[in-house]
Amino acid sequence: MRKKSPWIYVPFWIVISFLTLFPIYWLFVISVKPAVDLFTTPDILLTSFYWDNYTEVLNDRLLRSYMVNSLIISSGNAVLCTTLGFFACYALSRFNMSGKESIFFWTITNRMAPPAVFLLPLFLLMTQVYRFGDFTLLDTRIGMILVYCTFNLPFAIWTLRPTVDGIPRELDEAAYVDGASPWKVITEVVFPLCRPGLAVTLILTWVFAWNEYLLAATLTNFNARTLTTGLSEYVTTTGTEWGIMAAISIFTLIPALIVFGMVQKHIVAGLTFGAVKG
């Protein structure tokens, strides 16, 4: 549409990227300094590197299991929420069930709850109500995957609804006329067209689960602890280990970046789709 040279955007993006990256750069600075060197007149450039924080992190075998837990819980939760959300949105978009708009609004109210006070009932439910013999949901990955649905599933529904609504109904109807089953229509007609929305939903639900702290801190103990709770181990009455916390965070950026890289392609795919459709 616009005829400007594409290069004029670049300086703008360099400035924006600098602002975006600065706190992350500073996180790195903190991770390669002993705490005592942070307590001085700050210098914007790094002059020396101190790797002890990283050796400490690499030697911590517990952190590795936290990393695995975090990956499983956030990926499991993101896939579950995106899938359930997609089907829910399809139902809300294509069927004329009575009260469906109220249900749509109700789902999002689950995300509004201030988390602190809901920890006690969740703790009680997971230890005493949702149990099967000796198995309780407390401190399990599946338990956390389900609990995270309370804030991620409404999110998925709300971000996917405009996308699903935006797919013209005529496409479904044409497929039905051709004798396709509902399953086929959903998976082969609607689903591919929703890819940009699904990709964004997947990324963001993954991020919310990956970053969640309060629920994980209360509802996991030994087996399903996540990285964020691992970070909080370094906030104690004796001291906060800023350097180690920062080093762990730098490490946690790596898997997150990989997941981002994998999913972002589909947003680009969506871009071409938009162009073709036009």
């Binding site: 996308t163 964020t228 680009v268 162009a275």
Partner: protein, 292 residues
């Protein structure tokens, strides 16, 4: 048209999960909110006290102050995020060298956990040893002290939130913009519409559902903010950044004031629902009516 039974079948898992992990805990909180209950009181048991907690909340100056600060925080943070987020999303629509690279960089803040965000911003803004006050002092002679100035602390929490969450707005709006059909835009250009007219009459109405959804998400998340602010200022200086999420956290965690904390939570939840409902019906429903 397919039968509605199939629709309910598609919705059922969602309703079940949200009922088990959302509704049941809420019922428990509601029940607790009608009790006086602090496990370290002289009487550690739950004592039914009708609506005493709710009556107390209405006159609780600290809670009201906290609510006021929260509204200001949410307003400034969300408005800034939506405006910046929209412009960045628009800018990503064009083609330019290094686009994928810049987009990845722009999403990085999202993957930093809130407790880390709070820690980094604390270390960046601590008076005398933080880089930001240092640079502001060197470049502009400004004195930024988040330990004593309520305004400074408030501003830093807003800036921190904008830094952390604008990428979310950008991402959801990119998804909305890329799925827009091209015809109306081409038609409008043929008809000679200016960019401003195109924005108000075509782009905005078409992305409104996604925009409203995004505003909602940011609104309710900002209202619930705990980790970042707790790490950054602890709610201080004084009570300047003791937003409701932090206030509730301090009531129910260290103070173990379960009964009263539950009542506050129910009220906050109620207010959030009302505000969102008004926004929802005000912004979306009339348009839907027009279309239908």
């Amino acid at each position: 048209m397919q039968s509605n039974k199939l629709g309910w079948l598609f919705l059922a898992p969602t309703i079940l999960v949200l009922f088990l992990f959302g509704v049941l805990p809420f019922i428990y909180v509601l029940w607790v909110s009608f009790h006086q209950w602090n496990p370290f009181a002289a009487n550690p048991n739950m004592i039914f006290n009708w609506a005493d907690n709710y009556r107390a909340v209405v006159f609780d100056a600290q809670f009201l102050a906290s609510l006021g600060a929260t509204v200001a925080f949410v307003f400034f943070a969300v408005v800034t995020e939506v405006i910046i987020g929209y412009f960045l999303a628009q800018a990503f629509m064009g083609d330019f060298p290094g686009k994928a690279f810049f987009r990845t960089i722009h999403t990085l803040p999202l993957i930093v956990a809130p407790i880390i965000v709070g820690s980094v911003w604390k270390l960046m803004t601590t008076p005398s040893i933080g880089i930001i006050p240092h640079l502001l002092d060197n470049w502009f002679g400004l004195n930024l002290n988040i330990g004593t100035s309520a305004l400074a602390a408030f501003t830093v929490t807003v800036v921190m939130d904008v830094w952390h969450w604008t990428p979310l707005v950008t991402l959801t709006l990119i998804a909305a913009l890329v799925s827009l059909p091209a015809d109306p835009f081409e038609q409008a250009q043929i008809d000679g519409a200016g960019p401003r007219q195109i924005f108000w009459h075509i782009t905005l109405p078409m992305i409104a559902p996604a925009l409203v959804a995004t505003v909602f998400i940011r609104l309710m998340d900002a209202l619930r903010t705990v980790d970042e602010v707790l790490m950054l200022t602890g709610g201080g200086p004084g009570s300047a950044t003791r937003y409701v999420g932090v206030h509730i956290f301090k009531e129910v965690f260290p103070r173990t004031n379960y009964g009263y904390g539950s009542a506050i939570s129910v009220i906050v939840l109620y207010l959030t629902i009302v505000v969102c409902w008004m926004l929802y019906t005000g912004l979306l429903a009339p348009r839907k009516g027009k279309e239908g």
